[in-house]
């Protein structure tokens, strides 16, 4: 027993390594679906993917404008259909081979010919006619129609010499020593535990300022916040207001309240229908009347919801694109005032008199009683639901808040079986996708199919503007069109954008002094449109690669003491027993 204890104790004092690697330890709370860049769709996976592989172009840390990625420069033809990208000399894959234009062409062509390779990012090459690399430095992309989002192709470029031998893309995990070109290379992946990456010392922008980057998996943000406090982690994001506030005033932790890319909205069923206009679902007819929807917009106190439900960590909602993208964010010419009195007058005039119980009644005699669906998984929905309910009660509209399982909510909302429903989206630097969700074409093809829209909005003016902005390559003109679309959406109120959530992050300042944020100022460290936050992290002067949390040794000793103690006790017990038997 004593011998066994000694065996355990010896490794407790590990040989003090002369130089421990300086490591940035980051919490991930979301699932990793795959590390194969053609399959990885979840945010945590694409975040890791961005560290491993450069895209054709990148987004600047300061203002998110397109900057050098794999390609250093680009030009487009006069008809806006042909784009020529130049890949400079000197960029290398992690196995030493040069990064060439042929790798770019190979990646895009693979996605255009192999449906498996189009799984995650197929939409980016959907309008491509051809991609060719006439030489090692030049890529020529021809599109079928002019496309505004050609400098926002979020597709990891992979090495042809490795991937041409892969075989079936869908079965390739890419989790052991993949050849990559980004600022970090994958060194070890343990599913559900951690992802370890090493700095790419040959990275063309320059080597990162530390040695290793570890993503450690936590199942709840609470656990991650606790680990940050204990010094087991250096960086945490996706915090809720309460978690963020709990870290206030701690000297070794720096908080970062950043502009986020997500918004919450209250969708109004303005007339769910299929692509062909066939009505579906059972939405309340009064919501088809734009006057009712506008009255709802005037009756909801956005500031109160932000103050109470978001804990103050959000900005007032207007259009579909958050202020973190100032080129496209809408500041409405005339914002809906929070004015229940005016809303009441509007409804009186529009022919919705109050009934005997105070609830308004429509021209068809149906009382204005709306169902409001919320996600059981989101605390926001339940709390904001109560605000919406009391706000609308002020204007004579009764609301029945129903918090249901997410899957059930999805089923109801794609079938148009709702009056009001909470929804929300994350947005990209390029506005095309979020705008496309509210075009007539995003509605389902048949009553049983599921479309991509959540509002079922179908408006000729909006669609016309959508088509124009997609083909407009002049940035200023496109911004203007995008804002006009949002103004139309704002005026028609198929949904009320309630607020843009702040991204709440925190890092230890005794291990890492600073991070590059995007955009600057006001931006995030994690979940960027790029990898600047991790790439630009600067270790604190005192941080000399701690040999792991201080609790390790103490905890280890406790384990050993328990084992030895238990052993000794059992031994004593046994000896006593035999002595007793011998008597």
């Amino acid at each position: 027993m004593v011998g066994a204890a000694a065996l355990v104790v010896v490794p407790l004092a590990p040989p003090v390594q002369a130089q421990q690697p300086v490591t940035l330890r980051v919490a991930i709370v979301q699932q990793i679906d795959s590390l194969n860049p053609f399959l990885a769709a979840y945010q945590a996976s694409t975040e890791v993917g961005r560290l491993m592989y450069d895209y054709l172009t990148a987004y600047d840390a300061k203002d998110q404008r397109p900057v050098e990625g794999v390609a250093k420069s680009w030009e487009k033809s006069a008809d806006n259909l042909t784009w020529t990208f130049t890949v400079p000399d000197g960029k290398k894959w992690s196995d030493g081979q040069p990064v060439t234009a042929r790798d770019v062409a190979f990646t895009y062509n693979l996605m255009m010919t192999d449906p498996d390779a189009a799984t995650a990012n197929g939409s980016f090459v959907a309008g491509f006619e051809s991609v060719v690399a006439p030489d090692d430095r030049t890529v020529v992309i021809k599109t079928t129609a002019p496309r505004a989002s050609m400098l926002a192709l979020d597709v990891p470029i992979v090495p042809e010499h490795v991937w041409k031998g892969v075989g079936k893309i869908a079965d390739f995990k890419n989790d052991t020593a993949p050849v990559s070109s980004g600022p970090f290379v994958l060194s070890e992946y343990r599913a559900n535990e951690f992802i370890k990456m090493k700095a790419n010392k040959d990275y063309w922008r320059g080597a990162p300022k530390y040695d290793e980057l570890h993503f450690v998996y936590y199942k709840t943000v609470d656990a991650a916040v606790q680990a940050l406090g204990k010094g087991e982690l250096d960086l945490v994001n996706r915090m809720g207001p309460a978690q963020f506030d709990s870290l206030k005033g701690k000297s070794d932790i720096t908080l970062n309240k950043a502009q986020g890319r997500r918004f919450n909205e209250l969708v109004l069923n303005s007339g769910a229908a299929t692509k062909t206009g066939e009505p579906i679902g059972d939405g309340h007819p009064a919501l088809k009347d734009v006057k009712v929807r506008q009255a709802v917009a005037k009756a909801i106190d956005l500031d109160a919801i932000i103050a109470r439900v978001n804990g103050g960590y959000a900005e007032r909602g207007t259009g579909l694109i958050p202020p973190v993208f100032p080129d496209y964010h809408l500041t409405p010419a005339k914002a809906w005032p929070f004015d229940p009195a005016a809303a009441n007058t509007d409804l009186d005039q529009a022919g919705y008199p109050r009934g005997s119980d105070g609830t308004r009644v429509g021209p068809d005699g149906r009382p204005l009683k709306f169902r409001l669906l919320g996600h059981a998984s989101r605390a926001y929905d339940e709390q904001a639901g109560e605000y919406v309910k009391s706000s609308l009660a002020e204007i004579g509209i009764a609301v029945d808040v129903q918090i249901v399982a997410d899957t059930l909510l999805d089923e109801y909302s794609v079938a148009g079986k709702f009056d009001l429903v909470f929804s929300g989206w994350g947005t990209n630097p390029d506005p095309d996708f979020i705008l496309s969700l509210h075009t007539c074409g995003a509605r389902p093809a048949s009553p049983s199919a599921s479309g991509t829209t959540d509002t079922f909005f179908c408006d000729p003016t909006y669609d016309e503007l959508y088509a124009k902005q997609g083909a407009e390559l002049d940035q200023a003109k496109r911004s203007e069109l995008v804002k006009q679309m949002q103004q139309r959406f704002y005026d028609q109120v198929p949904a009320v954008v309630l607020g843009y959530d702040s991204a709440l992050e925190a890092h230890r300042n005794d291990t890492f002094a600073s991070f590059t944020i995007q955009p600057d100022p006001g931006g995030v460290i994690m979940a960027q449109n790029g990898a600047w936050g991790y790439y630009g992290a600067v270790p604190a002067a005192a941080a000399s690669g701690s040999s792991g949390p201080s609790g390790l040794l103490i905890g280890g000793i406790v384990v050993v003491v328990l084992l030895v103690g238990g052993g000794v006790w059992l031994l004593a017990k046994r000896r006593g027993a035999t002595a007793g038997d011998r008597e």
Partner: protein, 318 residues
């Protein structure tokens, strides 16, 4: 004897078959479209969704889907997870290890502790030891696992890691890794043990109490055996039977893991995989975990039945 065993095995096979059927149809009643699950949060158009639905056969009649599923199972193919796009067998395989380690160790300790306390308590019924230990056990039994977990984690401060199975920075050798895993396992095991050991203790205690006044114990004492020997060689073996059933039933559930404890301590186990599958719903993964979990309970039940005959000659005779 052989007939008995064959009967038990036949029953087990029928049970597994029922589980397969139930698992398939039950989970199809969960609302939500699996293809919407697969594409959630991604930029897809309707044609892509329709294509996916066709690829996975969700547009086919349900009977045809069932036939395909059973055919796959017979070949040992549990299907491919919609979310991870990896085979269900592989996903379950990589999570079953940590769960067996954590829940297995905890169960072993909880059973030992529970039986020991139960025997001691019954033998000295209503003593201070009996009353205290029963009270403490019930207190643990009454506590929600997630709450106790968070409490332990807070109270112990920096002594133990806040979650996971190992630190990413631990050197790769066997001893550092084993020690690190043991270190990470302390709090989750403590939580699990505290919450479950009461059932073993109480069942053991009450079944031993029933034997306490049996004639054969008086005989044993009359033979001049020491009290300790009477307990260990005569009373306990007879009182052990109900406890064995309970232990085996519980071992069957060991694979299920402990969803709450695994969540609180971010333990990379099977319990949480089941929960994730349900939240999707990720139908193939859900069916796979269901079959594995229910299957292990059935197998353990058969084992308990067979072990009964070894332990108790009376069962053999009947």
């Amino acid at each position: 004897m052989l007939r008995h065993v064959a009967g038990k095995l036949g029953g087990a096979v029928a049970g597994v078959a029922a589980v397969v059927v139930l698992g398939f149809f039950l989970f199809r009643m969960i609302p939500g479209d699996p293809t919407v699950t697969m594409t959630r949060g991604r930029q897809v158009d309707e044609a892509q969704i329709a294509e996916l639905r066709a690829l996975h056969g969700y547009d086919r009649p349900i009977v045809e889907q069932f036939g395909k599923y059973v055919g796959g199972l017979l070949r040992g193919d549990m299907g491919t997870s919609l979310f991870y796009r990896r085979t269900v067998a592989e996903l379950i395989g990589e999570r079953v290890g940590p769960t067996l380690l954590l829940v297995g160790t905890s169960t072993l300790i909880a059973v030992t502790l529970g039986l020991w306390l139960g025997i001691r308590g019954a033998w000295r019924r209503d003593s201070l030891f009996d009353r205290t230990s029963t009270g403490v056990a019930l207190l643990g039994w009454a506590m929600p696992a997630f709450w106790l977990g968070m409490l332990l984690s807070m109270v112990t401060g920096d002594l133990f890691p806040s979650g996971g199975m190992r630190f990413s920075s631990t050197p790769p050798g066997f001893w550092p890794q084993a020690l690190d895993v043991a270190h990470h396992m302390v709090l989750p095991s403590l939580t699990l043990i505290a919450v479950v050991y009461a059932q073993y203790q109480l069942v053991m205690r009450s079944s031993l109490l029933e034997e306490m006044n049996a004639d054969y114990l008086t005989t044993a004492r009359a033979k001049g055996l020491r009290d300790d020997q009477v307990r260990r060689r005569h009373a306990v073996p007879n009182a052990l039977l109900p406890t064995v059933t309970l232990v085996f039933l519980h071992i069957g559930l060991v694979v299920t893991g402990a969803i709450t404890v695994e969540t609180v301590y971010s333990w990379p186990g099977l319990g949480l995989l089941t929960y994730e599958a349900l939240a999707g719903p990720d139908l193939p993964l859900l069916q796979g975990t269901f079959v594995v979990l229910a299957g292990s309970v059935i197998v353990m039940n058969v084992l308990a039945d067979l072990l009964y005959q070894v332990l108790d000659p009376r069962v053999r005779a009947s």
